[in-house]
């Protein structure tokens, strides 16, 4: 079971959270080619290592936040 450090509520078990995937994906602006649109909709990083991702504290303060998590060890750093 992984422990997430909610910036508002402190460390809580992952059961309380909803996973939101990669952080920092921004909506494309201006003219967008099919390739750019496909990348925006479907392409996400999938690293074996450190990963910036979004979590939602469903059963707590109900805010979204970003953490950096290691996808092998589940070590966390930098919740905000």
């Amino acid at each position: 079971m992984i422990l997430l450090d909610c910036p508002h509520c402190g460390p809580r078990d992952a059961n309380e959270f909803h996973y939101g995937g990669q952080a920092g994906i921004s909506y494309p602006t201006g003219e967008t080619s099919d390739e750019e649109w496909a990348a925006y909709v479907f392409m996400r990083d999938n690293p074996k290592g450190w990963f910036h991702e979004r979590w939602f504290h469903v059963h707590g303060c109900r805010t979204w936040f970003t953490v950096e998590r290691h996808t092998v060890t589940h070590e966390m750093r930098d919740s905000r």
Binding site: M1, M43, N46, F51, T71, V72
Partner: protein
Amino acid sequence: MTHPDFLWRNPDPRPAYDVVIVGGGGHGLATAYYLAKNHGITNVAVLERGWLAGGNMARNTTIIRSNYLWDESAAIYEHSLKLWEGLSAELDYDLQFSQRGVLNLAHNLGDVREGRRRVNANRLNGVDAEWLEPDEVKKFCPIINVSGRARYPVMGATLQRRGGIAKHDHVAWALARKADAYGVDLIQGCEVTGFEIAGNRVVAVRTSRGRIAAGKVALAAAGHTSVLAAQAGIRLPLQSHPLQALVSELLEPVLDCVVMSNAVHVYVSQAHKGELVMGAGIDAYNSYGQRGDVQVIEAQMAAALELFPVFSRVRVLRTWAGIVDVSPDASPVIGRTPVDGLYVNAGWGTGGFKATPGSGWVYAHTIAHERPHPLAEPFALERFTTGALIDEHGAAAVAH
């Protein structure tokens, strides 16, 4: 049957091959076998970083069926099921392929409608399928609780009688033995760490055992495909997640079919040896950690006990996880990549064991002819740009 020690040679890598397959799971082995058998291409190496078929091939819950919704999926999974039906004889090895019937339960009106629709779609595609009312479900599988007062009431089920299970280890060993007999080098303990690309063509792989030149390179690395593709500068629409399963202690025969429930995320069968084999849903977050969270197992067991009260005293022996590669439309990606000579077969996610022979068949054809097999064509990478998705979440999702 005792563990067969000497079914294949254990060669050192040679400096060059016509085709190098990365990943010695079921799909890599089946691809090698069909490259040799169907296309006469035998100067082939299968490179496996661990031991042969020690990845998801050794971890899956062995469910085989072809009752997918869309035409493209029905075609490829049914091709695979037809191959399964002749595979023990063809490979001259008892794969313990058992067509005991697969039930997909419906627990609410939405499930009922989806199930009936899928039965009709299956029949139009020549795939055997039946709709069972709750009393018929009870007759087919007497230990299921069909009480209307259950937390997840059984409101009916689809049944594919030709579906079932096979012994995954036997499948891998049998494919390995035949591929080896054709002269394919099965090389264990050999991790691919990068690619050499000249112009836009792959010419070699770098491995933990040195450089190996390759006419063509075919990825069959399941959950690690993104990591490998990134080494070739390719981004794939895949996310890797843990998928857990467990087995119980050995029981007398109590369950002679496969029962799956998409809605409550549990699937159960009883192995030939007697243990109950149960699968869960994926853990939500990306991970290569080869283990999952206990709450997923808890939820799965709660659902299983609701459906099968007779299991309440059964003890769990082991749980484990594999890393599965999930695509946005829950369908595989098979075909060419932006790098010439580099092919991909991935995205089978939670449900690729059943596809093992079919996947190898179409992948071998694609590699041999340098263009997709007709059954593989709709599963090309381009579909994420064209929008021609094959959205199988309903039939694939996480119930295999």
